[in-house]
């Protein structure tokens, strides 16, 4: 009788400590992270084509173009390993580099509006569609990663599973944050006099 109850209790306790959940969620964040990298890579692969097409346009703003090339070089030079996830410093650097590339690319797209020949170029508009699709996929992948990390971190920090996390020294994982928080929260300045 006693052994039965003990067996029952230990079974409940083992499923309750969340060890298996940690393994499941760890895998889930890892795969969500791979998807993020995958989409960033896809964008990085598109950039040379975009640059080449834009270069064909005479007297295109050189400054904008150089920034894109530099940002891409920087973003792809960062080595990303699975350990990046457990290293907030490296994660931040990676995020900053990708953010810079996002900024440079969107600037390029805005500037390209001023060049009617470029807009009429079939190759360029195709690349534009692909870039837009890739940016959408990046957004989705990042969202899924954030959700996976949230689930993992809640598990790692709440009782009683935090004891398991302590015993196996599982750390919380970093999530994407908005880079320019200050810029977004500042109210927009509308100036009608400027022209």
């Amino acid at each position: 009788m006693k052994t039965w109850i003990l067996a029952l209790l230990s079974a409940v306790a083992l499923t309750g400590c969340g060890y298996n959940d940690f393994q499941r969620l760890d895998e889930q964040t890892a795969s969500a992270w791979s998807e993020v990298l995958n989409q960033y890579q896809r964008r990085a692969d598109l950039v040379p084509n975009i640059v080449a097409t834009v270069k064909g346009e005479a007297n295109f703003e050189q400054d904008t173009l150089t920034k894109v090339v530099e940002a891409r070089a920087k973003a792809t030079s960062i080595q990303v390993t699975p350990e990046t996830l457990n290293n907030p410093e490296a994660f931040k650097k990676f995020q900053a580099a990708q953010g810079e590339l996002s900024g440079a690319l969107s600037r390029l797209m805005v500037v390209s509006e001023r060049y009617p020949e470029l807009k009429a170029n079939k190759g360029f508009s195709d690349l534009r569609v692909q870039l837009e699709g890739t940016e959408n996929r990046i957004t989705v992948a990042r969202n899924r990663y954030i959700q996976a990390v949230q689930e993992y971190n809640v598990l790692a920090r709440s009782f009683p599973s935090n004891l398991t996390a302590m015993a196996f020294s599982y750390q919380t994982k970093p999530a994407f944050a908005v880079q320019n928080e200050a810029a977004i929260t500042a109210p927009p300045v509308v100036d009608f006099n400027k022209k």
């Binding site: 009788m1 039965w4 109850i5 029952l8 079974a11 409940v12 499923t15 309750g16 969340g18 959940d21 998807e35 195709d126 569609v129 692909q130 837009e132 699709g133 959408n136 996929r137 990046i138 957004t139 989705v140 992948a141 949230q150 689930e151 809640v154 598990l155 709440s158 599973s161």
Partner: protein, 294 residues
């Protein structure tokens, strides 16, 4: 697990916060053509639905058209992704769903393509269909014609893709594979009755009820993944078996008695997968597709 409840609570709070920010609610999936902005006549809608239904019977892929007045303040791409992953159209296990969203007063439209159809309809193809088939007709105010032409091109592309053949029993009956709480409760109820009485006879009243309770707890934990529910179920089952043992002891004097005669009508769990259209629940939308305007 408690943690999962916490996250669920967090997500629901998040959803409430999202609602408070004025994001457009995801409409109910009432059919293959959901016309929330009411620009199609009922004949036009039926013609489109018929076409989409024919596509599903021939290739298995689920295509849904959603027309809303506006998606603002949200971008049509993120709105589309939200709708896609709420409805999850596309066969289970295949995930071949496609969503065409039209925001009539924003004058924007978008193909939201599930991951398994991204090969058949890459972003460029989606953009091309929008620019060449749909937008020109929309510009003339011909919504039905534009949608019709778009669906034709989509159908041609999907048919060119090697997807698993649709099952003969009607691909739209996705309800059969979904988890049915009613069945589970009925099953546990009678299962506890039968197994409980056998176990009790072998192990005796007290131990028998404890073991049955434990077994139910483990089972429920495996199915629902929640310790709280499992403990509750285990407790209820234990009490149940104990009470029924006392009851049957009494009734045993009178002979005969309780023979689960209440099982009558049986299993009809009322899954209303009859006439209408139901999502296969397999679509995974990863942001593929293209947007356009007119």
């Amino acid at each position: 697990m408690f943690v999962r409840w916490l996250t669920a609570l967090l997500f629901s709070l998040y959803a409430v916060a999202g609602g408070a920010q004025g994001f457009v609610q995801v409409p109910a999936l009432t059919g293959r053509v959901v016309d929330a902005s009411a620009v199609l006549s009922s004949e036009q809608r039926q013609a489109l639905e018929g076409k989409l239904a024919a596509l599903e019977t021939s290739s298995g892929s689920q295509v849904v058209i959603l027309m809303v007045p506006s998606t603002l303040p949200e971008d049509i791409a993120s709105f589309g992704n939200r709708v896609g992953n709420t409805w999850r159209i596309g066969r289970k296990g295949v995930g071949d769903g496609l969503l065409l969203i039209v925001a009539t007063s924003d004058r924007k439209l978008r193909f939201e393509v599930a991951k398994s159809l991204e090969g058949a309809i890459p972003d460029l193809a989606a953009k091309q269909i929008i620019d060449e088939a749909i937008s020109p007709r929309f510009k003339q105010g011909d919504y039905a014609g534009g949608l019709d032409a778009g669906v034709d091109q989509i159908a041609a592309r999907i048919k060119g893709e090697a997807l698993p053949v649709p099952s003969q029993s009607g691909a739209s009956s996705g309800g059969s594979e979904t988890f049915d709480w009613q069945n589970l409760i009925v099953f546990v109820f009678f299962g506890v009755f039968m197994v409980g009485s056998v176990v009790r006879r072998i192990l005796g009243n007290k131990l028998g009820s404890v073991v049955t309770g434990g077994a139910v707890g483990v089972l429920v934990n495996m199915v629902t993944g929640s310790v709280l529910i499992a403990l509750f179920a285990a407790f209820v089952a234990m009490v149940f078996v104990l009470i029924s043992s006392v009851g049957s002891a009494f009734r045993g004097l009178g002979g005969g008695g309780f023979t689960g005669s209440g099982s009558g009508g049986g299993w009809s769990s009322g899954s209303d997968s009859g006439v209408g259209f139901s999502s296969g629940g397999g679509g995974d939308f990863g942001g593929g597709g293209a947007s356009g305007d007119w």
